[in-house]
């Protein structure tokens, strides 16, 4: 770790968050400039409603990345929880709740397994991804099912003045920030990613820390699945598939690092919105959807490239 240039080094964390925030602001600017009509209660609600599940997917990934792990199974896990919500939770709410709790428990146990047996998280979660998807398909072989009225009712809420997605996004960012960045326990959890030995030397159990973070990740996955079910009013065993990669991208674009426990909930929300709104911006400026993936890849490269330049400057 270079000890020199403390001023620059001190500025880097700020730059890391300022960059995505500026990019997001620019995207909103373009959207509202091209289509001022979207700047309405209805428009914003529609523009951002899918950000609700996506943000929780990214939050789950963030919890795992916080301890230098990677989760290749979060997408199928979200599919599974949305299938549980669409079937069990509708037919037999008690069994559904139990299944969701078991899913969270399974996530925590997976964290425990990784810690105790010192397995590489990337492979364990890869294997788990097949299991989640398999369970989802067994539960719901073809898309269908319904949505519990409570959840469907929630996603259709029209709170006064501010559209629901904004409230949910702001709430997730705020709550995540308070829990992870402001509480003493949050600091300990992030500390594991930064210097696990130091945390252990201060008397904390690393096994418990990892299980807790995986458990929170599982809980975020469940929330994402529930929201997805509410929005779609049905379950689908493949509906969450692309969250696996976009959540990783969102965490990193939002200023997170793969190693070092350097993550931020606010950045993660920002990163998620950037990944999500790329498609809308392209659609509004009438660029063919063929190039959407290219633009997403390009944004990743530009943001991370700029960050690397800032780091080595």
């Amino acid at each position: 770790m270079p000890a020199g240039q403390p001023a620059l080094a001190a500025a880097l964390p700020r730059f890391k968050i300022a960059l995505p925030v500026a990019a997001l602001a620019a995207m909103f600017g373009i959207i509202f400039w091209i289509r001022p009509a979207i700047l309405s209660y209805f428009g914003i609600g529609l523009l951002l409603d899918l950000a609700m599940p996506a943000v929780f997917a990214s939050m789950a990934q963030m919890c795992v990345i916080a301890i230098n792990d990677i989760d290749l199974g979060i997408g199928p896990f979200i599919s599974l929880t949305s299938c549980i919500a669409a079937t069990l939770l509708v037919r037999a709410p008690a069994a559904g709740l139990l299944a969701l709790a078991a899913a969270i428990g399974a996530y925590a146990l997976m964290g425990g397994l990784i810690h105790v047996r010192r397995l590489p998280s990337i492979v364990v979660t890869l294997g788990a991804s097949f299991i989640w998807l398999g369970c989802a398909l067994l539960l719901l072989p073809s898309p269908g099912g319904g949505a519990p009225s409570l959840i469907a009712g929630f996603v259709n809420l029209s709170p006064p003045l501010v559209p629901l997605p904004i409230l949910v996004l702001a709430g997730a960012a705020l709550l995540g920030h308070l829990l992870l960045m402001r509480t003493a326990r949050g600091a300990v959890l992030r500390g594991i990613g930064g210097n696990a030995k130091a945390v252990e030397q201060a008397g904390w159990s690393l096994a418990r820390g990892r299980m807790l973070l995986y458990g929170i990740a599982g809980a975020c996955g469940v929330i994402a699945g529930l929201l997805l079910d509410g929005i779609n009013t049905s379950g689908d065993a493949t509906v969450g598939a692309q969250y696996t990669l976009t959540s990783i991208a969102a965490v990193i674009v939002g200023g997170g690092e793969f190693v070092g426990g350097d993550v931020s909930p606010v950045g993660t929300v920002t990163g998620t919105l950037i990944m999500l709104l790329t498609g809308s911006v392209l659609s509004f400026v009438n660029i063919s959807t063929s190039w959407q993936l290219s633009v997403e890849g390009g944004i990743l490269i530009v943001v991370l490239g700029l960050r690397a330049v800032a780091r080595s400057a």
Binding site: P6, A10, G191, G203, G260
Partner: protein
């Protein structure tokens, strides 16, 4: 507290093994409240291991620990912490991704709930102010943005900070190594005040003057055992050095002979009045001396890099091989056999039509294993299964087998027993005599006697160049604390 009362901490017959390495062999030690115990000893003597056992972060293999006269059966971090035992570990143990005050929160479990951030900030600021007046460290800074010295200050201040749990013992394991001179003085002066309040201190340092000036008692550790205990008042630097090291007469060797003039293998320009120039010729063994972390290792890396790319002020002529004493992180390939570890540097010569010849590879490895007397059942044995000293020999064999013109040795005898060391010295001499140039950084002053010339580093600069005839350990120690070469105003650091 009278002398008759039980000591704050009593260690009885503490031993600790790391695999086949015996780091501590039955240490008995008392630590008294209100006094500072200084511990000195060569690298790898077992100082840090002992401290980790006291701090509860490492269980002893055997032995007993009693605090204030009461034996503690389930001794561990939590127990130690509850008893008011704090340790500033040798390697930094702050989380770089957290702020200063968050790191304080990690140590004090009682800092939680509403307002913990404010309390943590206040706590660390107060402690920093008390120990290092004028420190200029903002508790809201992220640790990764602090300099090494500042991080060290934070860690020290954190160890002395008190919540409801009172501090009874603070261990400072080479805590002054990365502190600027006046910060070190501030710290040591502060410990006087702390001792007056009944807090015990354990202070480990390679700066003997500090230990002598501030410690109440001094313990000397060698090869995992205590070889001497004395009140500091009765000791001086010479006697302490004598207790620490085996004072060995330099082994006889014929001066010169292979030593050649001509184009130097390595040549580093000096800086006027700041740093002396350095030169290594074929056939020479050149030592790099000074306190650990004063630029010797960085210099070796610069030389290594200069063999491939251009470097300003550094000329390297010839191929280069590197041997590190830090086997685990920059030497041994853990998945490879002894054979492959040895042959790694010589693959070019072992290849026929682009393919490595297995018979030739085996022959090479076996020849070197025999020549260096590496103790291994076969050369197909996993290198990590060997003892530390034999692993080190594997690395030396790799470098020698590569046939490089220049050999860089980075403290290559760390954790190596005396017999092996002697073998290696002889091997180096023979290698140099064979027309190779050797650049050797060591933290053991006794090894410097093996060199044709010694350059002493202090704060990244070369402050003295001592020829073999003029060599004395005293001169090395003096130059180690100098801030500039003799010509440019020689000053003794304190």
């Amino acid at each position: 507290m009278t002398a008759a009362a039980a000591p704050l901490i009593r260690l009885a017959a503490i031993a600790r093994d790391f695999g086949s390495v015996r780091a501590l062999q039955g240490v008995d030690l008392d630590i008294d409240a209100g006094r500072m115990l200084g511990i000195v000893g060569h690298n790898g003597a077992g100082k840090s291991t002992l401290m980790q056992i006291i701090a509860g972060t490492l269980p002893p293999s055997s032995g007993a620990i009693a605090v204030a006269g009461a034996p503690i059966p389930a001794y561990g971090v939590r127990a130690a912490h509850a008893l008011g035992i704090r340790c500033v570990f040798q390697e930094l143990s702050l989380c770089p991704n957290l702020t200063v005050f968050e790191n304080v929160g990690i140590m004090h479990r009682s800092l939680r709930g509403a307002g913990w951030r404010g309390r943590a900030r206040h706590l660390i600021r107060a402690s920093l102010d008390a120990i290092f007046p004028g420190h200029g460290i903002d508790p809201d800074r992220q640790v990764s943005s602090l300099s090494i010295g500042e991080r060290q200050m934070v860690e020290i201040a954190r160890a002395f900070s008190e919540t409801e749990e009172k501090v009874r013992l603070v261990i400072l394991d080479e805590a002054t190594a990365s502190l600027a001179g006046h910060a070190a003085t501030q710290l040591l002066d502060f410990t006087r005040a702390a001792r007056a309040r009944g807090i015990a201190c354990v202070f480990i340092s390679h700066r003997l003057a500090e230990i002598l000036a501030y410690a109440d008692d001094i313990v000397v550790l060698r090869d995992g055992g205590i070889v001497g205990t004395a009140p500091a008042s009765g000791l001086d630097e010479d006697r302490l050095v004598a207790m620490m090291g085996e004072v060995r007469a330099p082994a006889g060797r014929d001066a010169g002979g292979a030593r050649s003039a001509g184009v130097p293998r390595v040549e580093a320009a000096g800086q006027d009045g700041e740093s002396l120039p350095l030169r290594v010729h074929a056939g020479e063994i050149v030592g790099l001396a000074g306190l650990a972390g004063h630029g010797q290792r960085a210099f070796l890396h610069r030389v290594f890099a200069a063999a491939r790319h251009r470097e300003r002020g550094l000329a390297v002529n010839g191929s280069i091989a590197h041997v590190s004493g830090d086997r685990a992180s920059e030497g041994i390939f853990p998945l490879w056999s002894v054979m492959r570890n040895i042959s790694a540097g010589a693959l070019g010569r072992l290849s026929r039509f682009g393919l490595i010849d297995p018979a030739a590879e085996r022959a090479l490895a076996e020849a070197w294993a025999r020549s260096l007397a590496i103790r291994t059942p076969t050369v197909s044995h996993l290198a990590t299964r060997l003892s530390g000293g034999n692993q080190q020999k594997v690395l030396v064999a790799r470098a020698l087998a590569s046939g490089a013109d220049i050999l860089l040795l980075d403290d290559p005898t760390r954790g190596v027993d005396v017999g092996t060391k002697r073998e290696l010295y002889a091997r180096m001499r023979a290698h140099a005599a064979g027309g190779h140039a050797i650049l050797w950084y060591t933290t053991e002053n006794a090894e410097l006697a093996e060199c044709d010339r010694v350059y002493v580093f202090s704060r990244g600069r070369i402050t003295d160049a001592i020829d073999r005839d003029a060599y004395s350990e005293d001169r090395v120690i003096r130059a180690s604390f100098a801030s500039a070469p003799p010509g440019g105003g020689f000053a003794r650091a304190g």
